[in-house]
Amino acid sequence: MNFHFLFSNIGDLTVTGLSQGAIYALIALGYTLVYGLLKLINFAHSEVFMMGTFGALIAWNLVGLHENDPVPSLPMMVVYLLVGLVGAMVWSGVTALTVEFVAYRPLRRRNAPRLVFLITAIGASVAISEAVGVITGRNQYGMPDLFKTANLITIGNVHVTNVDLGVLLAAIVMMVVLDQFINRTRLGRGIRAVAQDPDTAALMGINKNRVIVLTFALGGVMAGAAALLYNLKIGVTRADIGFLLGIKAFTAAVLGGIGNLRGALLGGLALGLVENYGSALFGTSWRDVVAFVVLVVILMFRPTGLLGESLGKARA
């Protein structure tokens, strides 16, 4: 165990851990939203995210920005960021809705049991990632550099880069907005009502299908945002990147308490940190092991995640 490395780099590890965790958190939001609403582990959400990474790339290519182009000027950079964001969100959102329409809605109409949704979710996940794999020849696609990575803040030997800071801030802002939306607005309350009892929600005058569509769209858009951040940070995408990242994000959602939005943020950040500390301590190859072991241990002591489910448990 490399304590020396851990402690001498604790600052940097924390920074990367948080920015990594922020991406997990944004993806986790999609899982948590859909899970909270339909009690469905939307495995295809990882592909929603993956599509977003390509969405941003396509959008950039459309406006004439390509992989090996020189770094653009500041105003152009802002434009490109917006273009990429819109591209990613649109692609992700459309994918999320397509999955809902093609894979879930018909089952809902038949009142199928939950396990069946899980299988179509897996099917959709495989199909989307394979379709993209076939189209892209399973090649990697590099992203254009929108800016030079630079240290914004340096305190002692802790370096916070512009990317890290941006990713973290973006995630927190989006989180807060979404949280307020769900907990404060009428529509948000509608979402929660359908989540808890769809029939009774209808008796309150809530249109269930509209709520479901809205939720998938929200999850998709968040995944799109995560995809853009991923592109900026990792710089390359491929048809199969969704799967592992999706599992991580889902883990983060569960860690925080699935169905709980703030839990998603907390879980994501915690997972990012744990992974980075863990890999510093035990070696990068043990990183995921550390992550999953921590998950198991936390669930043993807090069986519904760090913050618990937001849905109260029915009583005996």
């Binding site: 009502a193 808890q196 009892d197 209808a202 309150m204 005058g205 249109n207």
Partner: protein
Amino acid sequence: MLLELEDLVVAYGRIEALHGISLGIEEGEIVALIGANGAGKTTTMRAISGLRAAQQGRIRLQGRDITRMRADQRVVSGISQAPEGRGIFPGMTVEENLDLGCYTRRDTAGIAEDRDRVFDLFPRLAERRKQLGGTMSGGEQQMLTIGRALMARPKVLLLDEPSMGLAPMLIQQIFAIIAEINTQGTTILLVEQNAQQALSLAHRAYVLETGSIVRTGTGAELLADPTVQEAYLGVA
């Protein structure tokens, strides 16, 4: 007629629960629907509120055909149901549950007024504003269900066994409340096992037996009817 059912047939899978019932409710009335377990009372309510589809027949609200309307749209049209079995949102607080009752309303002032009224009627709810609905006791949940239905300020209020699980004292109160909101202008369709009180309160009533309406009349008439007495009033 405010609400009218015509030859309504509803089935669960292969089992037909309602074999073509017709009934009508005039504006301002309290109509009771009584019948044994499994007679189809709840099914009738669910058909009216749109939770179950009719195989056959028509439902009309103020002359408008709503047979194929979605449940949530019917709420907007003025039908509100306090479901049987306490359909409360377990993970939401008492307050949020009440707020959902007026999901389709926008008149903030009116909403606040109604909320105060509900809290007046059920002080226990006021005490427990922040408690999660799912952790309330059976009777408390029942209060919440009724209170929430009132929050919608419906044209027609469907109450499915509102006295179930309530302590004797509260049962008296509930019936008093029903009478009061009726005088304030809400039309009510009431399903009750507590036939005695329901019939005393109702202007008119229907008796449902295994999916068909077998008798109808004013509350007083049915109270005096020997067959009704024997079957539903426990008068041996």
